[in-house]
Amino acid sequence: MNCHTKISCCVCFSIAMLVTVGGCRQSVVKSVPTSTGEATSATITAENAGDQAEDASAAESTIVGIDGAADVHPQADVDTNTDAETSPAAAHGPEAVGLRNADAETDSSTQAMTQQVAGPATIAASSPASEQTSGSDQSPAVELPTRESQPRPRDLPPTERVILLTPGGPLVVDIEITIDGDVHSSALEALVDDAFAAADVDGDGQRTWEEVANSPRFMYGQFGNLPITDDAQKSQLITMYDRNADGLVDRDEVPRFVTRNVGRSRSFSLRSSNEFRSASRSRSPLRQLLDFDHNGAITSDEMAAAPARLLSQDADDDQIVTLADFKDDAQATPGRMSNRRRTTEPETAILINDRTKWNSASYILQELYSFGDTVQASDWPLTPELFATLDTDRDARLGSAEVEQLATVRPHLRLRAQFGIQDAEGGSRKTSLELDVVDPAIEALVTSKRSYARRVSIELTGVEVEFFVNEDPALNNYEEVAQGQFSTLDTDGNGYLEASEVPNQLPGLDIPFAGVDANQDDKIEVQELANFLNLRQRAYRGQVRARAADQEDALFTALDTNGDGRIHARELAATPDLLAKMDSNQDGDLQSHEIPGSMVVGLVRGNPQQDDTLFVMPTETTDASSQNVPRWFLGMDTNRDGEVGRHEFLGASNRFDTLDKNADGFISPAELPPEMLGDG
């Protein structure tokens, strides 16, 4: 965009500000409800739905007086972010409505599927349109919605909608996320509110960026922003965050400021990692190992020889084969999710919200399922009912308008992810995950479902999907860290730290003294330090990031029936039968496309720089100890597969035969006589 528009935008904006200062702004500030179904979300997402949108947008536009194109200029700056999934972060608030069209033009990323954090007028986060149109009451079109005037939240809590692109067809997954018991957007909202309120440092009713840059409450990075140490940084800060360059802090400018992240200043975001989209099955390392004659299929002879072949790769001879045994990668981490994206591969998942680019979504579906042609029913063998539901004009093909209904159809799966739930005694915080299959047609196709505390895996015909949650424990340990620092530094033991006890910056924490001393009494108490650390982590605590990817080796995960990332002796023995079962057309050859797909979706919370360590699937399995298994049994079970094999057994051979009742070469806890259980 060019300067003219920017200037005119500024002029209009200033006029508009003069007109609407005071009461209107108050109402704008107050209107930050936490639940969905609010009218303005409806107005934004229901652009297709007609009039109310127009009226509401008109109402909002009068406040700000900015035409749609206006904010494009600052947005163009931020388009340089490398995270391909996101469109420019901000565009909350009043501009958001008008900006819808502008975004479509200026967004440089092709797959911008992001979630919009509630701005003052746009209210809550994620609500997918399906929740709204199913019987919501739209608020009155003309007046600016405030928190008080919002309709009561409906029964269903707010969810994020993700379309998971499995090989057999798209799965619609609604994800309900809570943080500390509240809907997930509220944590970040509360932080933004606090920062926004604190921005009026001198209490004159005006919030300016100058004030913020000079305020000791911000300049040490308390709110998660970068510390400001010199004048050059101050002006950089102002330029970067004051996107409409009016010198004033607008509420919609705050999220980027506190999360320091252009692309991810929202409470939920999704990254579709497509590195193994086609390689997962066709170039699976395990398939290549078993396909000894390299003819592209695993023949029945090769199936029979599979256990021996697998064992030949067991480098440490513990009768367990892991993925690392096949790969040359010296430090393969089992369960780590790939972060890489290839431009030549189709997407793994699409995030559906009010900012979804439907023509991109339509294109993605065509590219993946129908080789670029329009999608037909036969392209989705897993979800034909979904096709029928979307194909409203019954022409046996899906046009792009019909694809947009993905936002409103009923979901197949419903996931509930809870972050930061405190356990009963108020001790440590945990995360947990639950999955419900809500669509009966999908329910009929479920062959197995395994639930653990932080991980759920579900097997359908032709695909296996694993969901997991993970959290950085560093998010909540600020009390301990503060205590630790205190005990190290408070050498005179008077209960507080003086400037003399503290080196220039608190060691390891990069915080100068003045930053922590909130009440400026030249003493730092434990609580002040804890509060500081707490505040700094608040932005991370309020954001959940999701990553969807294919497993690196679909055949390996298919053979690893208990999902612990290792093929142990019993699974090895079962391999030939499993391979034969996968051969769906029973022609004796297992081809790549007959291998079930294997996908993972991870949800994490924590410092984005730690994402590569957080996006690692937890290897939870049914712990043998939970079954009241004796200690000696656990001791003998060296490879932790829950059973004691002949090679692990320490007693004499005839003793083994006595205990192994079904003579399958393994002693399972079930075979132990009752008097041995519960012992030790």
Binding site: L311, S312, Q313, D314, A315, D316, D317, D318, I320, T322, A324, D328, A330, Q331, T333, P334, R336, N470, R566, T613, L614, V616, P618, T619, P630, R631, W632, F633, L634, G635, M636, D637, T638, N639, R640, R646, H647, E648, F649, L650, G651, A652, S653, R655, E675, M676, D679, G680
Partner: protein, 524 residues
Amino acid sequence: MFRTAWLGAICLVWGIPVIALAQFEQGISADRRLEMVRQIDALLDARLQEADVVAGPRANDAEFLRRASLDLKGVIPRVADVRAFLTDTAPDKRAQLIDHLLSSPRHATHLANSWRQFMLPAGLGLQQIQNVAGVQNWLRSQFSLNMRYDRVVSDFLVATGGGDAGPALYYTSLELKPEKLAASTSRIFLGLQIECAQCHAHPFDHWKQEDFWGYAAFFAQLDQSQAMNNPGAQVSLIDLPDGEVTLPDTQTVVPPKYLDGAADTADQRGSRRVQLAIWMASRDNPYLAQATVNRVWSQMFGRGLVEPVDDLGPHNPPSHPQLLAELTDYFVETGFDLRELYRTLARTDAYQRSSAVSSDEPPPPELFATMAIKTLTSEQLYDCLNQTLMRRTADQPDFLPAAQGLFDPRRLAFAAKMNMQGGNATEFEAGILQALTLLNGSETAAATSVDQSSLLASLEAPWFADHERVEVLLLATLSRPPSEQENATFLAHIAAAADEKARQRAYSDILWALLNSAEFAMNH
């Protein structure tokens, strides 16, 4: 054989895969193997007779099992394996055991480990860990396919990177300097120490300065690809069209010259490294097969036919010249088949002799009258501890990268502490640090802790009688059942315990004592 080797070498130049060829040409018939086994014993016995020394007795089954497991698999056998072998009544069970060990996947890992240790003697410092791991993984993949050894060496020499990242890392660890590469490759592959000749004529051997630099000239045209400057990128080597070495402090260019004095390379195609690789694998090269045979012999018997193993030459004659010559021919005959070589040596009577010495004065080691006692490397010791103590695998917290094998931080730390500097396998050069580590270190403490040790927990099984528990401890550590006296001593110690807790501590004491015994820490 000559034709085949030459054909294989040409295939190398023109890129035709020679795997099929190699597989047909590898291996040996059972009769020929038996003949060689008998010949080895005959030649050794003849020498013993000359020296008027009596050969030692045969090792018993437990001794043999432990020794063969350590030499062929790199780790002591499991309790279940010991029990199975000791109760097996098949007459050829030792031969079967050897075959079983050689076909185990751990054999390839063990070979890769051993080879890596003499190829990269600098050790497992953390800064070189990527180099080390690269080389070892590459070696392991070659050994697990039982690739012909001459082919392994050729591939190693001409590696450019990419899939052969391991060898490329070896090159870069020596900074691509011709003199360093010459000294290193001649030592590890050819058993020749020619680095003295870098500056002057070799004092003992016949190598002149021109010989050294003629060999170094083969490495003169190397460079690293400049395309990737970021540290995470893979190493990539390129062969330049020119580059020469000169005698130090002069301008005299030295053309490439093979070490056996064979004629010049002017009209041969391919880069200099390829030419060198062809010569390495060819019949004209007398050094490769001989050096390899000597090394394998020293790994099995604790001492090479030529000692030190990387210093072959007229100044260092072999203890059994005819044996070395015949074994070298045999190795070439099998198609440079390492697995066959190990199998043949393991089947000899000499390998199966006990290490026990009955007379006051032990016979000279070069006669091989008894089996030498070999030390374990620190990594081997750690692996043995791991095996004995039945450490549960996958003990890491969820979101830390799982450390496996080479990258296990505990293994690295242990190896660093116990690192014995001497290269000689039969000399135990542990000092106070190593002794204390074993006595009191965290590994031992965890191993013998009543709460943490899986082995001790397993002993709680109610169907064990006390003497069976003692037996398990001996089988797990020393791979043999206890003697009468040991039984009596240990059972008395347990009986003296007052309550359950004291009994558990008594078992812990016994385990600790066994772990610190010389019998555990040695390969005898």
